[in-house]
Symmetry: C2
Subunit: 659 residues, 2 copies
Amino acid sequence: MAPQMTTLKGERFDRSLFESVLKRRFFFTESFEIYRLSANFKGENRGLYDYGPPGCALQANLVDSWRKHFVLEENMLELDCSVITPELVLQTSGHVDKFADWMCKDPVKGEYLRADHLVETVLESRLSRGVNGQSKGSTRLDETTIAEYNDILAKIDNYDGSELGDLIKRLDIRNPDGDGAVLPPIPFNLMFKSTIGPSAAAPVYLRPETAQGQFLNFKKLLDYNQGAMPFASASTGKSYRNEISPRSGLLRVREFLMAEIEHYVDPEQKKHERFSEISKVQLPLLDRETQLVGKTETRTMSVEQAVTSRIIDNETLGYFLARVMLFLLKIGADPSKIRFRQHLDNEMAHYACDCWDAELLTSYGWIECVGCADRSAYDLTVHSKYTGASLVVKEVLPVSIKVDEWQVVLDKKFIGSRFKREAKIIQASVETLDQASLEVLAAKLGKEGIVTITTPKLTDGRTAVELSKELLRISKVTRTVTTREYTPNVIEPSFGIGRIMYNLLEHVYWHRSDDVARAVLSLPLAIAPTKVLIVPLSNQPQFTPLVRKLSSRLRSLGISNNIDSSNASIGKRYARNDELGTPLGITVDFETLVDGSVTLRERDTMVQVRGPEDDIIQAVKNLTDGVESWEQISQRMPQFASHNQDTHLLGGRDNINRK
Amino acid sequence: MAPQMTTLKGERFDRSLFESVLKRRFFFTESFEIYRLSANFKGENRGLYDYGPPGCALQANLVDSWRKHFVLEENMLELDCSVITPELVLQTSGHVDKFADWMCKDPVKGEYLRADHLVETVLESRLSRGVNGQSKGSTRLDETTIAEYNDILAKIDNYDGSELGDLIKRLDIRNPDGDGAVLPPIPFNLMFKSTIGPSAAAPVYLRPETAQGQFLNFKKLLDYNQGAMPFASASTGKSYRNEISPRSGLLRVREFLMAEIEHYVDPEQKKHERFSEISKVQLPLLDRETQLVGKTETRTMSVEQAVTSRIIDNETLGYFLARVMLFLLKIGADPSKIRFRQHLDNEMAHYACDCWDAELLTSYGWIECVGCADRSAYDLTVHSKYTGASLVVKEVLPVSIKVDEWQVVLDKKFIGSRFKREAKIIQASVETLDQASLEVLAAKLGKEGIVTITTPKLTDGRTAVELSKELLRISKVTRTVTTREYTPNVIEPSFGIGRIMYNLLEHVYWHRSDDVARAVLSLPLAIAPTKVLIVPLSNQPQFTPLVRKLSSRLRSLGISNNIDSSNASIGKRYARNDELGTPLGITVDFETLVDGSVTLRERDTMVQVRGPEDDIIQAVKNLTDGVESWEQISQRMPQFASHNQDTHLLGGRDNINRK
């Protein structure tokens, strides 16, 4: 069961109020909204959202913070790769076969339901109502059943298709919409498919992750990095997943912005140079073992402790988990609503050997926002094997060593003339043979003069070739090894920017204690869509040059700002900007005309200070640069309490145009 | 004929040398490169590119400059909309029917060729060789034929499919690859198609432009802007066009980053508030009339003059053309290689009523980089008509007026109960009837008691409904009008970021006069991928803390920098960074260890100055902030000429490790 969600101020979180703020202020809207009433509009077009100006700015600021925190801090190599990806690449990576969710069809409604979500929804509903089934004949749940349901829910991500099918049958789980029985789960591939070129003969997919483009460029990246290891590449960009039945608003969408890091590391040396900088960071962990006994309590400990006790596998993985924690805190996530959960075995993507999700608590429960997977050498190995490209690191050994080993020598000229453009693939297949296989082949070659080599699928459909002793020679040699060659392992922190954004907005949302209609988004200055609201107290023309000058001075300091010269009362203008999360407000009033002073208001406290324009601008700059806090500023500058902008809306005195 | 392309230094531009620099430095690479040799890889997967670290940074800096120059400067409202777009939206916008190019199939080769490019390639080849046809029996071109060919080429964009077919037949134009005859041109829709949801029953497309998402949100944008007009929305994001036969490297790609502005303006009032700020900007114009008489000479004049003489239709369009010119100059485009060309009638997209392209001269000829289209009220009108959503501006008139007019009153309750969810569409169809139609209908309704109203396609397939006099009443009334309602016109400056980037790189590329292998990219500081290279003269350990401190000081000033501590000679490290376009280099040498001074090198002149670290950092900051030029700095600071880094590569003395 998801814990009860509360706001920053400890009050019950009301999702419908919250969402109405986001829509009213145009943080986002469902895409093609004006079409949704048309008779010809297909209901399938869900899970797609547009960001309005504040959503767009918030997203840009999150990405910018992410780049500074991760990419620039560690000189990661940025890439921007194609979204459109040929089928062959995603066949090799395993996505064509394995990137699927299980779904059940309700044959009566013609509806498709994601199998694990169906089980989850039905069992949670039974638990909350305390009875089995929807009809009158339902029986009350006994203790054993309650325990069983909770156990299933704790490891719901660990069931495969047939296990889900068994559960659905055994527990008589039906479509909540109409109570119809559903068919057994079948896999549904989540990639959007299209074709490229006028002949329509070449199938392509929209990438489901940015990672593959990064892996395919590994060799170029290593060269660009002048051969030095370890290093990381990074990409931000849209990815696409054709979710079976997207609900939950911005949390389960079919088109989303990802930010992914692929950190390439020596598999025998997963220490991290900068581990000591973060070793004391405290992480709330929910590991695999805890979940498998049906528990959901986290244990908080330092990264160092978690790595030493092998709860977290290695320093590099621990380093990134800690850096993710610091990032989430920096952008304003509520520390009490963050946890790191380890994936269960069946839950992991086909390429991962370990994975920890950073999850944020929201009104939808705990939601995965960042996945930190150890993809081992999986991807580089499969692509290298298929293409024959060398995706390895070569390192000079400090001292050379001698080894006895089976060696295979190919006659490249013969191979080339016989296999043409496929020679490279065959060569790669031979070169990846291990010592044990070579020993067997050497014996066979000696006896029969010919051996069979398994290859990836060739043009003529074969997956093996025969090579005679004229084409290859296998012998035992003593070799002096001066370099070491290895395929790097990949540690991948992968961020869903849209999810982080939505969950963060839930975390920072609250309302003035006396008025649920006066919402506030306490976004940190660094990521707030607009930093400063500039309001002239009156819309008399003599204010115009003053507010314009202020705006342009702030802009030249790189501080985004908006002028609101509308006719609304100053209190309403502030209230509107509280909902937009604008941290600061500068008011130009009639005193400004006299002495050039302006006021500066802070969003959360509504406290105002007054000072000369230059001082106020300096204060704003200090706040945005992080060299001074609001507390310090409000103490050193004279407080101001006369506009009554805020009390106005609180039912206080009306705003007075003072002359 | 495209004029001969020369480099910045007036030498012949060598595209193969240029491209080898871009690939060597990983500005970009063909996507999935390691797969391109595999037998199963489809040749159709072309027109897709990945940007490496410098390309990625350059792209980000271009987008950032664009945002500052356009979006922030004018407080445009930014949006981020779905790429995946339902068929219905793009049917309404006209893209499903009209967003196509003409292509010819070569039935022997099984190849598809874009018809206009085929004609162009073949005629240009004939002109350059001076003969018709490829075979021995070819005849020399006479004066008349040469004139005819040039005339066709000057207006090649003005031919439709059947005209292209006639040309191909009449001039015996064949596939240059094999000389085979081609079939008549057929239209090929350029949108990538897919389906959404597990049922696969809902067709979707990848958006071919970001514009539609912006139009669909018009009402929300207007509300967000508190009803004020004019205003603009803006989006950056990927768009997709399934080009028939992409060649020309980065110029014709299937997936590309666009930056689009939709400026909404009163159709009766296309003046621009800030026109006077840019009225003196000089623009090189190639208007429609000039092209139609087969000429390609530009006329340079001020925007003011062009608008006054109606070469450019109105102030708003002129304003944006001037702002585009200023943007191109700011990012470093060569002023002698920019022109603005007006579209010919048949060349214009189906939604445009006027269009000017900013074109850059490159080794591929003049290439469109920015399109400035007047889309009139086309898009808002079609979407409003289809959905029934009101996409209009309502303005209070300064004085109310009285008008006699036909008025239609619907019985909304009857309509609602009879037409259910389609009532809104029918209502919209009735409300968009003009006065003349209403007059006719009023007469008919009086006589027959029933009228037929045309509608968009309804669920049952009908495109009209019958309404009896119980459902609607049409009568002549005198109305006091206090507000004016209008559908805004849209002026759309649309930028292809990838094209701008590639063309710009051609503009800034040159090589040291004595060595074609020493290439330089003279990118302006503001958009260069890395601003500063930091090089320790030696890789002895005592240099490490010095270069790290320098790097972190620059980073904290927001100045991107790279450390190169590789073993390469200092000259080679500088040469590498000249090819990356890095404008500045700081060298830490043995004197630094003694007195803390470092040197600062400028890329284009290779001049170096020396000073204390603080002074050099201040100089770098002044340069990036634009408050001081390199000329000023090199005059006020002591010059330095001892490292010989640059002369080293020029065949001079070897680099000396001075102690």
